[in-house]
Amino acid sequence: MTDTPPGGPQESSPVEGQSPSPYVRWETGGSGRGVGASRSRLVGMGVGLVALVGAGVFSVTMLSAASGSATAEAAVERLFGAVGEEDVIGVLEALAPGERSALRPVEDLADELRRLGIVSDDFDLGAVGGVDLQFDDLTFETEELGPGVAAVHITGGTVTSSTDPQQLPIGPTLRKLLGHFDAEPDFEATTTTEDLAADAPMIVALDEGDGWHASWSYTVAEGMRREAGEPVPAFGDGVEAAGADSPEAAVRQAVEAAVDLDARRLIGLVSPSEAAALHDYAPLFLDDAEAAVAELRAEVPYEVDVTHLDLSSETDGDVAQVRLGGFEASGTVPGLGRFSVSYDGDCFTFEADVEADTICAGDLPQSGFGGADTQMVVTTVRDDGQWYLSPTRTLFQQVLGALRALDRDDLEDPESLFGPFFGPGLGSAFAEGGDFVEGPGNGTSLFEGTPAPDAAVPGDAELLGEECFGVFEDLPPTAGPEDYERAEKEVDDCLDDLWDD
């Protein structure tokens, strides 16, 4: 490459005593050439200055850009566009900030499902194979619900959904499990188009000062409000968020509120950024709930005191996991008398006037979940310096904890995973050799327990509630659909009785 500075060759003379620079080699022309070079240099400087101003404007614009859309409709359109493109990043960006951050563990969940072979190794949240959605000609109508809250109705357009079972990201473990039940998806690829105006779905969008975003929690809450025929709440005047000074304090106060059946306090302790909808819509049901609690207290006078709570936390930025190491509670409940219950991180001990019992983790059925963290963990988040409960993150954390305790072998051997909880019969149901019996006419499938070669149960497989299914064996070969329906009802009744027992 020729070492020419922007703006052309330079006309200055080399510095005396110094070796000529690459610039200087171009500076040996006549005076005319020097004037041309000078002009080129000026042009180069001018271009640079214009570029500097443009780049400065660009930088400032980008740094100060709002994350949301200009209108509620644009926010919903952005969401549909991202869904249609299977653009996970776009979907998350289209959601309200508080909601999107609560969904971040989804990626961890996908990692665990990949590790366990539930989904294929190449499973990508950004490109889920086998399913394709396309939205066309969408039209919207906005209904303002309150300041910064709007319901966007989809008044027209179509959604075309294509499903190709062969392309679904089913992992080897899930495929094996489905194979046990002879339930591998074998239906053909389908494409259907639906008119969205028929159902007129509605999505609520919020403007929290950073542009409009779609909100799934407000959408759910608004849908429930419309179903219940309740009036629109006064947005921003709902249950006031009241966090705690530390993660442990947030959980401690939540336990106290739960024991006191204080729904208002409990809601106040839930993260306002993650569950703003709950805070806003709670007044619609809170009065009734509090009246019901008062009535219950009048009818069933009880007293419960939590005398000890052993909590510890691990904080990572604005998220903290609070572990329950132990607790002690005592009180009086009609019918039970005085009671006390305690947990020391391993054993639950219950003592009452009528009975006493102790259950330890080691007493529970040992299964593939045996490695799961049995301690109760609540996820809390910091909003504006205060700590709140995060229900969504807590749920994700519990599911992730259970999944992390498993490996592929556990899932491929359901007998060891679920058998201890549901009895060996269920294990045989999962074992090779199980078969489905299809009732004629109605397509009902019922499992016929065929003993596995290595079944640990002597004699025939003992399917849970197997005695209930004997009624099918009594049916004559000529039995018709009505006979099967009657038999099914008998089985249902029998299973209900078993359940009650």
Partner: protein
């Protein structure tokens, strides 16, 4: 000049598609914005990543510095732009986001800018 050419290459690369999520492609600036909004980066790293928005400004400064024959300034700016481009491109390639053409172009251009920066610095040293 190699340094300016590298810096300009980074500028061009920054507007090319860098990452794919589903059927959507994003430029480097859109990816940086998404990373900030989704809190993929936080703290000092987040501030550093947001500094990527200054790339066009820094490239313009590099151009002006070179036009005014400020070798040391040119070297510093092009080194800054080049190292930022290489670091961001490597980060995107290592992330779950499907890396696209822009990252490869940025790697080459960033490396060119770094080489150019070294050459300008050497030249400055020779002259002084």
């Amino acid at each position: 000049m190699v340094a300016v050419a590298g810096a300009l290459g980074v500028l061009v690369a920054s507007f090319l598609p860098w990452g794919r999520s589903g059927g959507a492609s994003r430029t480097s600036y859109e990816l940086v914005a998404a990373a900030g909004r989704l809190e993929v980066v936080s703290g000092a790293v987040a501030v550093g990543v947001r500094g990527w928005y200054l790339v066009p400004f820094l490239v313009a400064c590099t151009w002006l510095a070179a036009a005014r024959r400020r070798l040391l300034v040119t070297a510093t700016l092009s080194a800054l732009v080049g190292s930022a481009a290489v670091a961001l491109a490597v980060a995107v390639k290592a992330s779950p986001v499907g890396a696209e053409t822009g990252t490869s172009v940025a790697l080459v251009a960033g490396a060119t800018a770094l080489i150019g920066a070294a050459r300008s610095a050497w030249e400055h040293r020779r002259q002084s």
